[in-house]
């Protein structure tokens, strides 16, 4: 029998309950001010987990149950987190008329004609309501995965609304180059698209919260970054829509957990994100300062008294570096961040590259064991 033919619940051995209980206590530490054991490590495992378990990247994105089960087993294997996650960047886009293509080497990409081909198409856009979300393909995928966890691995389930980056999603509706040009030449059109994306994404969060009672929100500042936009535009086309998204989603019952994942270079705009909506479970995570990993000391200084902060090992280093290099970088980040007042998680700048050498993930964990003890 091929591995792909085996249902996920049968492919993996039972997770060690004592390990999971220990890990749960450790993971709670940053949020409750009682640090336990050592610094948590989160290399943002997604498709890497499937590959590490003998599946393919495409399997991960096309089979949410298998993807989640892979992440869970990899979490135990690497001694990482007690919670599972499964997502990709182009969520909620098919509901708005985009086509997704599943690739062998990339997460699903938007392909073909975009819903907005000309300025006049913008007027035809309307957000997808909660009921439309519930009938759509993205919600169906998430629910398939979460219901699988609820049935077989309930203590791993955290229903996540993946909001990704409203700016990047809006750009996909038009084509990235055209959208970036419109931010200068036709900002009103960009705002109309962003309103549609934001309302749709908030409705998705509400749909997930309606089913599971709450919904952790993962929101990105990926395209709204210093490489592409000046700080004022990052605020106008990034932060302002995060605020709208979170307020609407919270009103509909989503949250309380918020993970703000500012991928990319935020050298010129990292201070503006302090105006994000805050809840008692907020994580602030910046990817890069220029071409370098975002300095933990800077994150701690500005955000350490506001939220749990997360460090960012460069994903290129995760893929190409030696375990020794990853260990040394991790050691310094952990020493800089472990005493952050509202908690610290040692992470990567973005998801662990699919073919990250397992030794490099172990190097992050080893550094946490050696230098991140509480």
């Amino acid at each position: 029998m091929t591995m792909s033919a085996v249902p996920p619940e049968l492919f993996f051995p039972e997770i060690n309950k004592d390990w999971h209980a220990h890990c749960t206590k450790r993971f709670a530490g940053p949020f409750v001010g009682v640090n336990f054991d050592r610094v948590n490590v989160d290399p943002i495992l997604l498709a890497h987990a499937a590959v590490a378990n003998g599946y393919t990247l495409k399997d991960f994105y096309m089979k949410p149950k298998l993807g989640l089960a892979s992440v869970i087993f990899a979490n135990e294997m690497y001694d990482l987190l007690p919670v599972a996650h499964w997502f990709y960047s182009n969520v909620w886009m098919r509901e708005l008329g985009c086509k997704l293509e599943y690739k062998d080497t990339l997460p699903p990409v938007v392909t073909g004609e975009r819903p907005v081909k000309a300025p006049e198409d913008v007027d035809k856009l309307a957000p997808v309501d909660v009921s439309g979300i519930e009938k759509g393909p993205t919600y169906t995928e998430f629910i398939e995965g979460y219901d699988f966890l609820a049935k077989y691995l309930g203590n791993w389930l955290v229903p996540i609304h993946f909001g990704f980056c409203p700016t990047a999603m809006s750009a996909e509706m038009v084509g990235v180059d055209k959208f970036m040009l419109w931010t200068i030449k036709q900002p009103k059109l960009c705002h109309k698209i962003m309103e549609t994306i934001t309302d749709t994404s908030a409705n998705a969060a509400i749909a997930i919260a309606k089913k599971y009672g709450f919904a952790m929100m993962v929101i990105g500042g990926v395209l709204a970054n210093s490489d592409l936009l000046p700080p004022a535009k990052v605020k106008e086309f990034g932060l302002d829509y995060h605020i709208k998204l979170v307020k609407k989603a919270f009103k509909g019952g989503a949250g309380p957990q918020l993970w703000y994942h500012m991928c990319g270079n935020h050298a010129k705009d990292y201070t503006i994100w302090k105006d994000e909506i805050m809840s008692p479970f907020t994580v602030m995570h910046f990817g890069y300062m220029g071409k370098e990993s975002f300095p933990v000391k800077t994150a701690k200084e500005l955000y350490g008294n506001r939220a749990t902060i997360m460090s960012s090992v460069d994903t290129k280093l995760m893929y190409r570096g030696t375990p020794k290099e990853v260990y040394e970088v991790s050691k310094q980040m952990i020493l800089d961040g472990k005493d952050s007042p509202r908690g610290f998680i040692h992470g990567t700048a973005c998801e662990a590259p699919v073919y990250t050498p397992p030794a490099n993930i172990y190097a992050m964990v080893k550094a946490a064991r050696d230098w991140g003890k509480y």
Binding site: A21, G33, G255, P256, I277, S279, P280, R306
Partner: protein
């Protein structure tokens, strides 16, 4: 003198569901009217007051009705306000602070619960002694957060 307060059956049901006594709300609104510690939304002819009482903070939304008031909603939360850390002045709300007529904007404040201090977004102004957590935030976000904090703290 006690304020005349109308509480319609549907609002009384909300109070019951939220474990809030009518006397607590009456006392809160009496205090707000005497002290002027309230926000006013003129466009909607609405008042809002918030006060820590015992182990919780109580909040009431109400409007003028005849010689007294009608209760629109009330809610409470257990997280305890500490310092207000940020005033986000450009996020203006429809409310003004009754004592000074200052515009009420978004603020971020630290809140403490079972020994854990975390930041929460709320509303307030530089003269306001108390940050007001909005109803959706208090009854949904904070209510679940309190439950998760209890669970996590016990894990």
């Amino acid at each position: 003198m006690a304020t005349t307060l109308i509480i319609k059956p549907e609002v009384a049901n909300v109070l019951k569901e939220r474990g809030i006594k009518e006397d607590e709300v009456r006392s809160l609104i009496d205090w707000a009217e005497t002290s002027k510690e309230k926000f006013v939304n003129s466009a909607e002819n609405l008042y809002w007051t918030t006060k820590p009482m015992g182990n919780a903070t109580f909040s009431a939304l109400y409007k003028p009705s005849g010689a007294g008031f009608e209760l629109v909603s009330a809610f409470s939360y257990k997280v305890k306000q500490k310092a207000i850390t940020d005033y986000i002045l450009e996020e203006v709300s429809p409310w003004v602070y009754a004592k000074t007529n200052e515009k009420v904007t978004r603020i971020d404040a630290d809140y403490e619960y079972i020994g854990v201090t975390r930041m929460v977004s709320a509303l307030g102004c530089k003269s306001c002694p108390t940050a007001y957590i909005e109803e959706y935030m208090a009854t949904k976000t904070i209510a679940i957060a309190q439950m998760l904090l209890e669970k996590k703290k016990g894990s």
